[in-house]
């Protein structure tokens, strides 16, 4: 094999693999959205409790972890930043900086990454094992749509959970950050601090926050479920599928985040 061909061959293979994965993910997403639209209220007695249990699993159960992370980030980053801005006489910018850093970027990404690590990876293992043990065929034999029963509750649950966790994360981070600054005797009154925050926030921030966090949740759920379900797995393939899901979810979330930055910049 000639030298250029030796390098081009793996590049070409990787491109084809990437395109195939993207094609599979897009098709799987469209199928899931189709099921969500056509069967949202079908078998509500089974599906709605599943959605609630996913919200509990990916939301409520992660509150202690998110609280710890929010306090830590608040103390380490936000508190120091407020102190620094005050020291250079730019305390009027505190609200704008907080909104840009915490509300637009840090909050959604931190919540998404925590949920991906704690729940998304678990989905791949759960679903991959279920698939390997023939439970998906058993669902089909009972005329239960696996996408409706397994994927839809996870997608809705993760979307709502990441949105709620992000809101909680933002509030905790902003409050703990101010507390740290307050302890450092920063001459910024609580009323002024929160007034600045309120002034810096626009309705687009709320709308895009909801859209962004729900998109993160849907992307993580779809990628995890795709890796667990979409292809026949043997038990020994499950760990590799989990790694793939984590990497692809992170890449997809960062890509989505970049798209939202473009939206913010054009506003």
């Amino acid at each position: 094999m000639s030298l250029p061909a030796r390098y081009l061959d793996p590049i070409g293979r990787n491109i084809i693999r990437f395109l195939r994965t993207a094609q599979g993910l897009i098709a799987f997403t469209l199928i899931t959205l189709g099921v969500a639209l056509t069967k949202f209220n079908a078998s509500a007695g089974v599906i709605h409790p599943l959605v609630r249990s996913q919200i509990y699993r990916a939301g409520l159960r992660l509150l202690p972890m998110i609280s710890f992370l929010a306090c830590a980030l608040g103390l380490m980053i936000i508190g120091q930043m407020v102190a620094l801005l005050t020291r250079v006489g730019a305390q009027n910018l505190a609200g704008t900086v907080m909104v840009t850093v915490v509300v637009r970027e840090l909050g959604p990404l931190a919540a998404a990454l925590v949920v991906l690590a704690r729940v998304g990876a678990g989905y791949v293992i759960e679903l991959g094992t279920a698939r390997a043990q023939g439970e998906v065929e058993a669902l089909e034999a009972l005329c239960i749509d696996p996408v409706h029963y397994l994927v839809l509750p996870r997608m809705l649950g993760l979307a709502l959970a990441i949105f709620s966790l992000t809101v909680y994360f933002i509030i905790t981070t902003l409050v703990s950050g101010y507390l740290f600054a307050f302890l450092q005797d920063v001459p910024l009154l609580p009323g002024d601090y929160f007034k600045q925050l309120a002034m810096a926030l626009t309705w687009q921030d709320f709308a895009l926050l909801a859209l962004k966090t729900c998109s993160f949740g849907m992307v993580i759920a779809v990628v995890s479920c795709y890796q667990g379900l979409a292809q026949p797995l043997r038990l020994e393939d499950v760990s590799r599928a989990t790694s793939r899901a984590v990497v692809q979810s992170v890449v997809a979330c960062v890509f989505l985040d970049a798209l939202f930055i473009l939206v913010y910049l054009t506003m």
Partner: protein, 277 residues
Amino acid sequence: MNADSPAAEPPAAASATAVIELIEATVVAGGAGQTVLVEGIDCRIAAGEYWVIGGPPGSGKSSLLATMAGLCRPSKGTLRLFGRDTASFDDGEFLAARLRIGLVFENGGRVFNQLTVRENIALPLRYHQEQRPAATEERVKEILEATNLGPLADRLPGQITHPWRQRVGLARALALHPEVLLLDNPLAGLGPQDSRWWTGFLARLSAGQDVMGRRSATVVIATHDLRPWSRKGKQFALLKEGCWLPVGGQTELAGSDEPLLRELLAAESGVTPAVAS
């Protein structure tokens, strides 16, 4: 002897409606359309019949049952369910037809490991019927009693042994009152006592049992060991080297000199796997 011929069927069943019919059908592995497992299947299973399909491991029994259950379509030929070609069904009609067929998988029945025994049985009822919780609970209780699973109702499948898991698979398949019950190697890995319970229970189902509303269920069993079924089944067929070989009733089974049939009726444990696998 051809199963379609009147001589192959008991007089009562001859005029009965066909619940499953395969005409010149080809069954492929997993429905993926790659490996052909069985070709030229011509079978007509009438309501209330008790069929036993024998074949060595890998001969395509599981795929044949999956095709009969409507899980995958034959790559060639026709599948008719309850008198209608499945190609003419719309989605709703196909779903309705498939709900009238129950499938019990082999090796522990592929029960849902995250759900308790009770939840496994209740799932199809809750998903398809959305009836009052009390009605679902009543039906689940009825099935638990019929299958002796009552004491294990709140355990997870991982906490019970293989024979009981297999029984959960049966109980789950019975939940929706199926008219046809397809069972894939139901006695695999079971001891003599459990095997006797299964053969007795299926015979009662075929005769019309309380748990099925006293309606006579159509039973189709796929197995690599014909011995436990030789006096229970009413119709027999073989899968041999990718072909469907109808045998006939118990008399024809006893009188046949087909070598594979003798092997399946005599073999203590191992039967030579089919090349197709």
